[in-house]
Amino acid sequence: MRYTAAQLRVLSLLALTVLVGLGVREWRAGFPDAADRLEGFDREESPQPLLPEPHAPPPAPVPAAHPGSPPAAGPPATAPPPAPGPVLPVELLDVNRADATQLARLPGVGPGLAQRIVEERERRGRFDSPEALRYVLGMGPKKLAAIRRFITVSD
């Protein structure tokens, strides 16, 4: 039986494909790191949570560029422009990291509610914002308002 030229071409292409596949398999087995890098070459790294940067440009002085009297209802002249750098970190409890014992120390949060917060966090992955705590059974608006100044939400 004789093959036509077209059939021969297709068959040799198939054989070549399989051979290339063999080669790629060997290479990927031999250099898994390089293969992984190649596979992910156009992927962005997942965004890293940024540390609060020291804000480089100091707040522009109040544009006192318009001379003359300040507007009648202008801001208080007494308050000198504060120097707002990065806000001083106080001891805020990170509800995305804290365990049940730590959470239970928040005002109005008992061990049961703390446990439910942890469970809800595990179910959701994380809380996007302090408001998301409202999804926890027993976390009403009053309670949330009470603990808001003590908590923070990280990633």
């Binding site: 494909t17 398999r25 003359g68 302090p130």
Partner: protein
Amino acid sequence: MIERRLETAPLLPPAAAFTAGIAAGAWLPFPAPGLLAAAAAALLIAALASHRHPRAALVLVLAGVALLGALRVAGPRLPADHLARRALDGTLSIEGRLGEEPVRWTADRTRLLLDVAAVHVGPERRPAVGRVQLTIYGELALPLGETQRVLVDARLHRPVGFRNPGGFDYAAHLRREGTLLVGHARADRITALTPDAPPWPVAVKRWAVGVIAARLPPTSAPLLAGLLLGERSALPREIDESFRRAGVYHILAVSGFNVALLAGAVFGGLAMCGVPRRGAAGAAAGALVGFALVVGGQPSVLRATVMGLLLLAAVLLDRESQLPNALALAGLALLLWRPGDLWEAGFQLSFAATAGIVYLGPNITAWLIAHRAPAWLAAAVAVSLGAQAAVTPLMLTHFNQLSLIGVVANLLVVPLAAVATTLGMLALLVELASGVLATLLFHTLWLVLIALRAVVAVAAALPAAMVHLPAPSAATVVAWYGALLLAPGMTASRRIRAVVGALAVLVAGLSIWPWLRPTETMLRVTFLDVGQGDAALIELPEGPRLLVDGGPGGARRFDVGERVLAPFLWNRPLARLDAVALTHWDTDHSGGLAAVLTRFHVGEFWESGHPPGGAPETAAALVRSRAPRRVLAAGQRLWLGRALITVLGPGPGPPQAPNDQSLVLRLDWRGVSLLLAGDLGARGEALLLERAGPVRALALKVAHHGSRFSSTAPFLERARPRLAVISVGARNPFRHPSAEALARLEAAGARVYRTDRDGAVILETDGRVLRVTAWARGVTETWALDPEETSEKTSENSTAPGLTGGGGGRAGSGRRSRSRRRARSGRAAAPALRDRDACRGRAPSRPGWS
């Protein structure tokens, strides 16, 4: 020339007439019986007159077909047991069949399409009909699949999109697909009534996706699934974006490309093995139908399948095939089945691209060959160029996207994609016989996919690979397609050449016009409907634009920045924001800014100095954008054009909760004042009042979406806003806005606008007149800002209604009379609007802002 083309495509006129009928029917709601009678009369007369007056008969037939098109969309009344007729408060127990495979957005968020069969009320089962789209929160415990029967306890409501000028009408889109209700439910409230036993096409698709995922690494697998099956839900965002930028996104949708490859492979393979022509064509037709069933019913698939079957039928019948006719038949069939698809981007793009290739392709090829291009290159460029020319207005209308690199990128990408698709189909076939051999094929395939991704990445990385432009006006679109329609005749006639040239100039002029439009004289503030969150764009007549907050967004949820803010800004049109202010870092304010910072040039970024939290994507985008950052604090003042921005918060002192550290901005322009209160809470308001800044304002962006812990009485007493805008999402879990806050606003005499009811709220003013538009309701109210009355009483500094009604919308009149009454009684009322006119006097010397 056009006449000759029509002769070979007898179905084109009726298809066009039917389409026109559908379009007209959607605009003008004709009564169905009248339409039926008119269509019958037209067709009857045509039949009677066909012998004597063939031309008149033809016109009548086409009119009849158009009337049938209008009849097709003349809405049938909802059946009595339709779910949409029920009262929808509370939780409903609904039973139904899954209309599609569940779509998993994230691990704990899934979308189900439910064809409702019954509603359970207590022990009773009442039959019902309707189609419901459900969002399921939580991990699904049981596997769900198409056609499965389930019982769900869900809360239902009518769909509401984001109602902004030029925005995508989500509710209309769902209605066209037959979905009148949406809802949500918890994963543990779903009961499966039958096991997950999908029909064979679904099973085949699942198997194929599973094999691909098992044989290929995690990024390449979804790419191949997209190429072969159009299944691109697992494709990483940045890859998806690269394909869009490179203008080659069409290869990720199943279309004529896949169908041609499949039919070609089956037909060619069988023919090579000695199967007779007709047998091979029959087998290829069978393969096409099976393929269409497996990949599902998107318009592009159906169009390609219908056309492919017609071409194969031409082979079977030994006839010459006519592409335009096949296209017309496909359009007619699809619109008969699903007339609403006419308005869908997928349908329009698929048909426009094919029509462009069929109509323009041969002429472009001939022209290129005449200019000594090699034949293969000429054909490839012609396809790419023809399709691009036809879809450009549509891409701009729907997505504001114009890929400049597309025509070139396609020359490389399409062949690579063809190799990958063919090899992928082969590998899946081999997988049935031998896993080992299939693995080797997948290894080769991986290499091809990497090459494909590399080409796309390079094309997408070029600067200006894609530009974003405002949606073209109707006149521009008509002129563009008119020019395309006449273009093939250009070589023959000088007059046509002149007309096409004139049309081209017209298109160019109309496209440039929005950018050159003389600057407006009004200050415009748009509080966008971004669901539960804040976003407001302030546009000054002198040019500067300030965006305050960006609504919710981020990788894990619906990205308002990408889907709502960016299109709105592109349609403005606007490419640069002079400043973006972020009041605080909660995700409902900062999430959407990631897209804004990535896609627009941001002159400055204003923030409160509170450390980033909650929105890592935005923080990363901010660093990448290299926008200068400015930390604002109470007491600072800045000029934005001729508007004075006064920073009222955050103040000095010990750190407060993030909300109370919100940036609070006040804007004064020609005596109009606006207070943007961020998410300030009661504590923050008290501190702000202690600092004794200028709080009184004409309009107030109500703090914290109308939470009852904000907008306290003392604060409102001092602010005394005439207008209050609450930026809030419908049915949000926090029950914002609260009745208490609304009552306090009412007591303070403020007229309240809410984005959950009013859609985008737009304030426009020239300093004398204030117009307030509630976009979703289509109501504009006009108020006169009365300078005389104000200036008289400025000295007292405590009176003077800023507003007296100037007529306007239906809701305005009651308010107006009250406002007058207050003015007369002299007690209370609005801020002394004119007492800050000093600002205006000084402003002109400072055109920019510091």
